[in-house]
Structure formats: structure tokens, C-alpha cells
């Protein structure tokens, strides 16, 4: 099942059993609240995960949630190459997040705990994406989110709908 699959394959069409917990946020709450911090604190308390693993989980979860909000639900590209791009990018986030078409979309976080493994899935209601395995160009100010997840999680893959990023951590 989930936990024996090879690392870093792009897509898996599995269907996990009942999760240990599931949370759903509107786009604006997912963007403005510390969702990753709250979920990680809950995982720490519930499954007695040590602090260093919690830091990795929080880092990955934060990247996954921002990706789900910005690139998923708000359908924005993230190519920031200048100060001007930076300003336009954040202005576009604020503009879209106030529109019903975007802000009513959900970000869902689902967690399974199994045999000292945690599986976290973060899904959005965007168009879906293709996993990029390239190392980010180190001087470019964008494109590091998935790279950090790939570096810190024990495995990462896309669910079949291409809108759900899955991460697994051994603890």
C-alpha cells in the first residue's frame, strides 16, 4: 500500500483508508492563518512526534499550503525575477483572494498515521500541476517550495487528480 511504494514517483492512484484527521480551509484562511503551525502542533501532541521531525513537517506543510493557495486556488504563476515582479505578485494575490471565484475554493489537509509513518495530503481546487524534479537555479528567487519538500520529506508524490500533493514522513 502507500508506504511501500518507491520514492518520488510522480503519480499514485491509491485510495487510502479513513484518515486520522482531516481539515478544510477556505483559501483566505489558508493564506493568512498559520495553518501549518497549527496542524504540526496537533500532530506533535497526538502522535508524540519529536521536535526535529515536527520542524521538517511544518516546513513541508507550509510550502504545500502556500502552493495550494497561490498556484492552485488562485491560479497564479510564481516567477518573481525582480522587485517589480514581487510587488505585482503580491498585489495579484490580494486581488484574487477577495473574489468569490477564488476565495470559495478549499484547501484540504488530510493525515494518516500508520506504523511510525505519517502521510499528509494537501489538496486544492486549481488546475493541477506537473511535478518538477529539476534542482532550482540557486540565484533565482522562486521555485524552491517543492525542492524543500523533496529534501525534507521521506517521500513526495502527486495523487491521481494532480491537485493533491502527498508527503510521507517516518518518525
Amino acid at each position: 500500500m502507500l508506504l511501500t511504494q518507491p520514492q518520488f514517483s510522480d503519480i499514485r492512484h491509491d485510495a487510502p483508508v479513513m484518515p486520522d484527521f482531516a481539515l478544510s480551509f477556505g483559501t483566505e484562511i489558508a493564506y493568512r492563518a498559520d495553518v501549518a503551525g497549527m496542524v504540526t502542533a496537533a500532530l506533535h501532541d497526538r502522535f508524540a512526534i519529536d521536535d526535529s521531525m515536527c520542524v521538517n513537517i511544518e516546513t513541508c506543510l507550509r510550502e504545500a499550503v502556500i502552493n495550494a493557495v497561490v498556484h492552485g486556488n488562485l491560479s497564479l504563476e510564481g516567477r518573481i525575477e525582480s522587485q517589480k515582479d514581487f510587488e505585482s505578485y503580491y498585489a495579484a494575490i490580494e486581488e484574487r483572494i477577495s473574489k468569490a471565484r477564488y476565495k470559495n475554493r478549499r484547501v484540504n489537509i488530510t493525515v494518516w498515521n500508520h506504523n511510525q509513518h505519517l502521510e499528509l495530503r494537501v489538496s486544492d481546487e486549481g488546475k493541477g500541476f506537473v511535478m518538477n524534479h529539476d534542482m532550482p537555479e540557486i540565484t533565482l528567487p522562486y521555485g524552491r517550495g517543492l525542492f524543500l519538500i523533496r529534501s525534507l520529506a521521506d517521500s513526495m508524490w502527486l495523487a491521481g487528480d494532480r491537485r493533491t500533493l502527498c508527503m510521507m514522513f517516518r518518525y
Binding site: I66, Q83, P141
Partner: protein
């Protein structure tokens, strides 16, 4: 994230604190604007009180680096530790920035 700018002369130390993340774009803009208002010959970003960083903050630091380079201002990073140091190392920031006082 919060920041304060210290230093009497034209060598400035920007003391950062808290979590530095994607959501700190306004604070980051304020920091750059504040530094742009005074004569600066060198900048040190002090991360001793920063506990957490994400890829959005890495992007802001790279934009800040570009800005400093265009103004020929040397910049360095001081006292990165814990998760922050780990993320800097994964992102190869040690090849892009002068780093000191790491714990």
C-alpha cells in the same frame, strides 16, 4: 517577522526576529525602504532571533541580494541556526552569501 536597523555609521545591522515567511512581504518592503533612505556601505542581516524560514523568505533574501549588488553594497548573513540554517544550506545560500556566526 519583525526587524530593527542598528548601527550609527554606514555599516548597518538589520536584526530580524520571529518567523520569516511568504507572508512577510510588507515587512520586507519596509526594511528595504528604510535601508534605502540612509547612506549604507555594508549590511549584515542578523538571524540570531529568527526561528523559522520558508521558500518565500528565501526569495525575498535573493531580491535583497540583487538590490545590494546593484548598489555595490556588500551584504552578509549572521547567526543562522536551527531550521533557518538547515534551509539555507539546502538552498546553497552559503555559495551566494557571506555567512558568519552560525550556531
Amino acid at each position: 517577522m519583525d526587524f530593527s536597523i542598528e548601527g550609527q555609521g554606514d555599516e548597518k545591522r538589520v536584526v530580524l526576529s520571529g518567523n520569516f515567511t511568504f507572508a512577510d512581504n510588507q515587512k520586507f518592503k519596509q526594511m528595504m525602504a528604510a535601508l534605502g533612505k540612509t547612506p549604507v556601505k555594508a549590511v549584515t542581516l542578523d538571524f540570531a532571533a529568527v526561528e523559522f524560514i520558508d521558500s518565500g523568505a528565501l526569495g525575498m533574501l535573493l531580491l535583497f541580494r540583487d538590490d545590494c549588488q546593484s548598489r555595490q553594497i556588500p551584504m552578509s548573513i549572521h547567526a543562522a541556526h536551527g531550521q533557518v540554517k538547515k534551509i539555507f544550506m539546502l538552498s546553497k545560500f552559503d555559495q551566494l552569501f557571506s555567512m558568519s556566526g552560525e550556531k
